[in-house]
Symmetry: C2
Subunit: 491 residues, 2 copies
Amino acid sequence: MSALEDLLAFQKDTTALSQIAGRLGWDQETVMPTGAAAQRSEETAAMDSVLHARRSDPRIGEWLAAAGSLDDPVAQAHLREIRRSYERATKLPAKLSAEIARVTSISQGEWAAARAEDNFKAFAPRLTEIVSLKREEAAAVAQDKSAYDALLEDYEPGATAASLAAMFSALRPRLVALRATVLAAQPLEIGTLGQFDEAEQVALATEIAQAFGYDLSRGRIDQAVHPFSSGSGSDVRITTRTDAADPFNCLYSTLHETGHATYEQHVDPKLALTVLGQGASMGVHESQSRIYENQLGRSEAFCGWLHERMRARFGDAVPDSKKVFYARVNQVHPGFIRTEADEVHYNLHVLLRFDLERALIAGDLQVSDLEAAWNDRFRADFGQAVDKPSNGCLQDVHWAVGLFGYFPTYSIGNLYAGCLYEALKRDIPALDDHLAAGDPSPALMWLADKVQRHGAVIEPEALITQATGKAPAAEPLLSYLEAKFGALYGL
Amino acid sequence: MSALEDLLAFQKDTTALSQIAGRLGWDQETVMPTGAAAQRSEETAAMDSVLHARRSDPRIGEWLAAAGSLDDPVAQAHLREIRRSYERATKLPAKLSAEIARVTSISQGEWAAARAEDNFKAFAPRLTEIVSLKREEAAAVAQDKSAYDALLEDYEPGATAASLAAMFSALRPRLVALRATVLAAQPLEIGTLGQFDEAEQVALATEIAQAFGYDLSRGRIDQAVHPFSSGSGSDVRITTRTDAADPFNCLYSTLHETGHATYEQHVDPKLALTVLGQGASMGVHESQSRIYENQLGRSEAFCGWLHERMRARFGDAVPDSKKVFYARVNQVHPGFIRTEADEVHYNLHVLLRFDLERALIAGDLQVSDLEAAWNDRFRADFGQAVDKPSNGCLQDVHWAVGLFGYFPTYSIGNLYAGCLYEALKRDIPALDDHLAAGDPSPALMWLADKVQRHGAVIEPEALITQATGKAPAAEPLLSYLEAKFGALYGL
């Protein structure tokens, strides 16, 4: 066998093992008995150490050196991604990696307790330790990058804080202006909702997931505290949750996860169990989940179809008027919580976190000053004072488990979704007619062809550029939001 | 760290990984999407190769040598079981192990197809290949043992064909005589059954499992094609199945698996994630599942309680008479299928397989002659001619997947259950009063104390000897069966 063949055979087993590790996470969130948590953390640690040892196996370095440079672009992409993973794994000391795993495993519970007590000070010492460990990790893997870019690279290959800040710079002022205008306009009539049988909600969500291409012979839908998507290849599972008073939580979180899951399901099967057999990055992943959920799922055209389906299933629990229904689904409402934010507010939440976490990692902001910095920024962008830490800097788990550099991928995803939607409308002029008939398939085929089937062969920015014909930018998302909410609020 | 500490730390991760591998099997049988089978076989193979590499890691040999001999009996037991696993893993060539895994993975589907077509000849060439591979495995690991004993050792440490044949020799003639007498007696009145809601069956089965000590905070019950128990420590799961026309299938298979699961749950938590933190052998495991299911669960005392519970839940779908109900649960009926056999017939099925598989592995019986040999023996023991291979030598999957040496552990389990029940009745004279009140807890505490808490610290035969005060033998089981069915059939 050639060095490349040896390398790919070794990588195949590593990828298969990482699928198992991922499924262990699914199991933990959906079916694991509550009393199994301590044993599970031992199992997870054992699996992590097997994976870390494989990812930093010295033979990978030898195979990479022997493979040399190759003409075939897919082979090149294999080498690129394996090299990226290998260099990171070998640079990160096993002891530091284990320490981060240990501390962030403990800290998740401490964060939950501090959030429940609305006591940021109680959590600040631990968060200080985590920031310090992540700075140490960044320094170890940075090469010629800044500390923050080194962390970002783990979630969004090729992105830098500078390039993101340039793309995002247009977002903040126009979103702040849009929200102010919308909130000053005449409030929408959104009617009232009744109660919704939770099994019926899941049945409808399943129907919609399937209409959006989710293949249940290679996936499944379960209930969990947080909606998520898990797995690649032919075993990609999602979760949802229900609230009897709010069916849109279940429906739109399912549609969001369906975007993630069908992305994985549409990757070229030839790439299965390779390092390329998955989404290109967290940002591109989020672009698929958001375009399914928002640009397609919350469009006026699709809401018309959904309204009929919900009236048929739930009767008068749903407002009679299509217009009121569409307003209910898209209503802009100020709020503290990112995960409950509408399309106008969402990216303002993310940009706040992006700026603060860069300052934390750079050492320009101390954890002891984080709460005040958060609250100042929130008042500036959202025009409201944060009333308690659980509505402020303690609301998200990300930092508590060491995810620095992760938040911006949400806005990258939204921004990419804006670019893709602009190109999609251009290429499929009758898109709204299809959506009004409950048929997203032309849009899905376009996304599968332009984005999803490529897996991680093409790097994120190049992939979006190739799909849309232009470099990613904020303008398409802003134009879409201003047009949509301008029309909805009669601005 | 000492060599022993190093060895135990290494073994802890191996045990944790083997728990993950086991849970992957649970996932496959209960929740895996149908389209994920091919990917799953790659994942399983990758996990197997990680485990094989760890089990044969040369450092284990060094640690074992450096640890020397120890006074502490638990430390001795650790070394004993780790040495057993290491010697087997290092003696078995990786290539042969992979070939057996590959062939028995293919053969499972071929066996199912041959069984569906009732065509033994179609499967005989593959079975010949499997017998040959298992003989090769046996030769590789045998040391000073016979080939069959080498295979048996994998399921029942310390057992030999000769010692089992001596224990079993009393079983066959008295069971053949008992079945003949019972079948010649006046048939029992067993009434008729109605239809049973399947969700209600599972609810009652769950209630019974909990009454028999199954802790659902460290376990769960799902539905699957075949009932099984999976996992050790704080995550031990069972499955059941339902048949609207036969609630006893669900109830007694759940009670059987509850015996397996509570055994694992009652192992001393100090042994968790060690090689001793699980049942002592397949035979001891089966002794627990069978005593829960039969000696306790099918007793006249417990059937009285169950009758009331079922009348309350299912009304007239259950016969009104306690006597008729007890007869229905314990009726002796001739049949071809082992898994459907009553207590009188069950071991005759197993002994047939034990004798035939010993002859196959010894080379005294050729696969081409297996069907005729099976049918001759069946006619001799059961007084009936086998009508088709699916009712004969194609009924069980075991041989098709290479499980030679496994069948006798079923009868070892029955025989041990007989010994334990005799001691249990001696130590708890009011056992039947407790069972009649639906309270098995005195029996469960006795089993937990005498057997279950010890995990694999004490070897099987010594464990039963210590628990009962005498060496295991067939007499207690035979006396129990002759007394129970003599009374039931008025012999």
